[in-house]
Symmetry: C2
Subunit: 416 residues, 2 copies
């Protein structure tokens, strides 16, 4: 990596923090002292309001309200209420989004339903480098459905691969590994010109940058609640169905919460009007309540301001790695141009795993993706420019002192 | 309803409570004062340990541990750890059960996978009166899969309906409405004699009575975490795969948590060894931790003792309704013989909805199932015989005073 033009000093950094319009948001989060948390793209930090809210749900709503809380505490509408909070972050109408299940399960619902809306077409097109669970879920669907083939192509070949035998284009908007951003509007337009439907996975988009599903004409989307939305470990995911498809879509996971009148206990399935038909089982109330508290950290925030700070944090990180660690054989695994990069910086290093373990031991928390990618997530709601300075300073000390060569840092372990 | 032989007095009741070997378990639960909670079959009561456990998960494990807690707090093994706690309650080995997703999603996985293990066979057999979400999920599967038909028969016709064109028999062990218990061993044996596989829904069984899946030779099972297992509203569900099928089963919801090495981020799905391949997306940690705390209330408890008390509570309830409300046109909607009845009492009454609302307003909480069934759940861990006496005494006052005729009690609302 080569040096950028700017030579950064701590004075620059202090000035950037002083001028940061999002600076006061950090107080909404309980980020531990002496931790530089650059993994909010994997698990968002804890909002300060969450413990109190969950204690209330458990002790008052469950403990005292018991079964009555389905009505009295309006648990029954929590999936729709949380969906409506996500909607403005992703360019959707409030009635087009609902929170439920996991991203994997929601992707299955949306891709299966989209295939059923394009009978006779053979192909689901996706990207070779899509997030593995997306690939796996679609492989499962391919095995289940006669006459449907999953076609995987490189990121640059997607446009050409779309043809009149394509039922569905299913892509993750921002790549989990290198942060590359797909052109949602152009790919959606091309897919639809071929008569196909689109399913966008917004796991690395929602809450990290503005996206406008309706402006892009997207058909369906899914996304993750535990990354940038700060919903907690394994938080419920969400799904989006464009208004124009809501009467036609018929997801195969037709559980009772998708029924028009679940409490009639009728023998025949009859899908609910609107987004509710995309629900399946009983809603996970603790997880949804925590996700609701996580989403409240976005209240009053302009997604454009988040994007501006996200890009500035990422650029600063890259500049500082160049400035402080220029001799240590890091290469960029993401775009240098912040406009083409999601809210993360990824670096290649042959010893990336051990280096990341040494960083984590020092409280500089990013993550590692095989075979050699170190990921650093930029979360503008709770990261300061000073955190980036301190994190890269610590990284330079680890590299200069070859701390990561300690055998303690070479054992592999699972980090999501 | 006719009077039973015994004329119950409060002295009898006090003696039964004094002799109850499970009496000390009630202290493990935070049941509110002046509430007679006969709806633990719909949502279990709050264990006293749960708020503290969840606060620890949120504040320490998530807030301080952040992403590191997937390893350090062993979140990654929580689905298997919770599954192993459920296993002894249902006659399974610890490695045959895992907690994940909702009952509806798990039923989809198990029935779809079982169909794939019996290619060429056309029928999924179920009961007309099965719980609606089971019926709906199987209707969705029928739409999705070519050459598979859902065949619904009455409870008494199941045995005869099983034939050599049957792929799967999918039943709920204890009927949600009338508490009827299927003969799991006999039906499993018959299904298997025809070459079919069985999927048992234990939602109204697990934690309420002993059941021995392996003794019955069951193939697959699913069940609910928020009823008798006390896991909280919308708690994760569980699934069981008999050891002999674990290498062959291949559920279509093939998310990354079912992969052999999820953190290799490989492009091709390769199912994990053992029960883990039946997982799908990222585990819901808050829900699983609450379910773990719920299951701890069973620690050291003999399921036979739970069954004995459950039957005694149910018999007492019926006797007292006969004794105190004999003139009020209730009829039994469940078996009089406690051996043939699950852990609930169900009554028919033409005005059941309004009566149930009046009961709830007085703190006597059961629930209503259309068109005319009032359900009262018997949960031996936290119900006293005295609660049954007080509940039926309150019911008698409501009936004698025609309190339920107040128009305030006639409006319909959703209660799961």
């Amino acid at each position: 990596m080569t040096n950028s033009a700017t030579h950064w000093t701590l004075d620059h950094i202090r000035e950037m923090d002083a001028r940061d319009p999002l600076a006061d948001r950090r107080d909404l989060f309980a980020v531990p002292e002496n931790i530089f948390y650059l993994d909010g793209n994997s698990l968002g930090a804890l909002p300060r309001a969450t413990p109190g809210r969950i204690a209330e749900v458990i002790e008052k709503e469950w403990g005292e309200g018991l079964i009555r809380s389905w009505n009295q505490a309006d648990w029954i509408n929590l999936p729709a209420r949380v969906g409506a909070m996500i909607a403005p972050l992703i360019g959707a109408e409030t009635w087009e989004v609902v929170a439920a299940d996991s991203t994997s399960v929601n992707l299955f619902k949306m891709v299966a339903a989209a295939c059923a809306m394009r009978p006779g077409r053979r192909k689901i097109i996706t990207e070779t480098g899509n997030f593995p669970t997306d690939l796996y879920v679609m492989q499962g669907l391919e095995s289940l459905l006669d006459g449907v083939d999953l076609v995987r192509v490189g990121a640059d070949d997607i446009f050409e691969a779309l043809d009149e035998d394509t039922a569905v284009l299913s892509l993750t908007h921002v790549n989990y590994r290198d942060g590359t951003i797909h052109d949602m509007a152009a790919l959606t337009k091309r897919a639809q010109a071929m008569g196909a439907l689109t399913v966008w996975d917004l796991s690395h988009t929602a809450g990290a940058m503005p996206v406008d599903l309706n402006d892009a004409g997207a058909d369906f989307a899914v996304g993750c609640g535990y990354k940038y939305l700060n919903g907690g470990p394994g938080a419920p995911a969400f799904l989006f169905v464009a208004d124009r498809h809501q009467e036609e879509i018929d997801p195969p996971l037709s559980g009772w919460m998708g029924h028009a009148r679940p409490f009639d206990f009728a023998a025949e399935y009859e899908p609910a009007e609107g987004i509710a038909r995309n629900l399946c089982g009983t809603p996970a109330i603790l997880g949804l309540a925590a996700l609701e508290a996580g989403l409240e950290t976005f209240s009053g925030v302009d997604m454009d301001a988040i994007r501006v700070k996200s890009m500035a944090l990422g650029d600063l990180f890259i500049d500082l790695v160049e400035q402080m660690c220029g001799d240590h054989n890091f290469t960029l695994a993401c775009g240098r141009d912040c406009e083409k990069r999601g809210s993360q910086v990824s670096l290649h290093h042959a010893d990336g795993y051990a280096i990341m373990q040494a960083l984590i031991a020092r409280g500089i928390i990013g993550d590692f993706r095989a075979p050699d990618v170190m990921r650093f997530g930029m979360t503008p709601l709770y990261l300061r420019y000073r955190d980036i300075w301190d994190a890269v300073s610590g990284m330079a000390e680890i590299m200069d002192g070859a701390v990561w060569r300690d055998p303690a840092f070479s054992e592999r372990a699972a980090v999501t």
